[in-house]
């Protein structure tokens, strides 16, 4: 697959963005900001309203993601380690998204012609 100059530049920008992702965990820590609205864990919900809604309790463990919250160890308090996990998650997720979308596009482009 040939890629042109603009495409090459954008790929480089995407790689740089992957390396900058720790900003996404450092800024919230620095400004003392917590979860996104509506994305609290069942335990946090109990602190907020005094109980865990039944459906939330039932469904919240529906799926065990292999890399939950973009980290391999949420207990690890080291900011440097968490930044590392976050970068690796970013590279992994962006690469998989890229490859899946690329293969899918090639497949439908081929079938369409």
């Amino acid at each position: 697959m040939k890629i042109n100059k603009t495409q090459k530049r954008i790929l480089i920008i995407l790689i740089v963005l992957c390396l900058l992702t720790p900003i996404g965990i450092l800024l919230p820590v620095f400004f003392n900001a917590g979860d996104a609205w509506g994305e609290w864990s069942a335990e946090t919900m109990k602190d907020l309203i005094g109980y865990i809604p039944e459906g939330l309790m039932k469904y919240s463990d529906t799926w065990k993601a292999p890399v939950p919250d973009y980290t391999v160890n949420s207990e690890d308090a080291s900011v440097v380690h968490q930044s590392g996990y976050y970068i690796v998650s970013g590279i992994m997720g962006a690469s998989i998204s890229y490859i899946v979308m690329l293969l899918f596009s090639k497949l439908i482009a081929k079938n369409g012609k």
Binding site: G38, G55, I96
Partner: protein
């Protein structure tokens, strides 16, 4: 804006999943028709960009966090149907591998961020830009497209959260799913997106569209007609 498992009742997430599947099936057909082989790398990059930009959590000091989605810029440059497919790919991978957004809520999350948002973004851009190639106008229209589409997608998400107490409570009146009603969810989500996250979406949309206008104006889906008319 990634709704987790357990916040939406089946009465909410099943219809949204059905809507997502239906619209995505149409999107795939449209993309198949529109796709040009030389743009295929951009489609992959669009999915990767959406994935990565959502990792940049921005803080409301002392409050919540949120992020841009990237749907607006993808809708403007590659078209809303392509944005639907690309952002859905990113959202599904986030849910499956990273637990960001629930499995039962995949349809709802894709509906909000990968269908509603890019279409709103696309039409807002068209409305303000009207096929213009004027740099300032394109920049301004792109900003508004990103800003308004993210805010409206957040409000739609807030509506899905906020109707839960109305449709699903136990006999004691306790919520079964999201416990906050519309009077709390809408202001909470609208304000944080109006004052911060929407601005972030607007700025990245405007900057990237400007970059494409300078380097590869021919591929910009939403002003292609403008380019074609100029050549007449």
């Amino acid at each position: 804006m990634h709704i987790p498992d357990g916040y939406l009742s089946p009465q909410t997430y099943i219809p949204l999943a059905a809507a997502f599947v239906t619209v995505t099936a149409i999107a795939v057909k449209k993309v198949k028709k529109e796709i040009s082989v030389k743009n295929i790398p951009y489609l992959g990059m669009a999915a990767a960009f959406s994935f990565i930009i959502m990792m940049f959590n921005l803080p409301i000091p002392g409050g919540t966090t949120g992020h841009a989605v990237g749907s607006a810029v993808i809708a403007i440059i590659l078209g809303p149907w392509t944005a639907t497919v690309a952002v859905s790919v990113a959202l599904i991978i986030q849910a499956l591998i990273f637990g960001d957004g629930g499995i039962t809520a995949i349809g709802a999350n894709c509906f909000n961020m990968a269908i509603f948002m890019p279409f709103v973004a696309f039409y807002i851009f068209k409305l303000f830009n009207a096929n213009s190639l004027n740099k300032k106008r394109v920049f301004f229209s792109s900003f508004l497209s990103g800003y308004i589409s993210l805010v409206l997608a957040a409000v739609l998400t807030a509506v899905e959260f906020g109707v839960q107490p109305l449709i699903a409570t136990d006999p004691d009146g306790k919520a079964l799913y999201c416990p906050y009603d519309l009077s709390i969810s809408i202001p909470a989500m609208a304000i944080e997106h109006l004052i911060l996250f929407g601005i972030a979406e607007g700025i990245i949309t405007a900057l990237i569209v400007r970059y494409f206008l300078k380097n590869e104006p021919g591929i910009i889906h939403s002003i292609q007609k403008g380019v074609a008319n100029e050549n007449k």
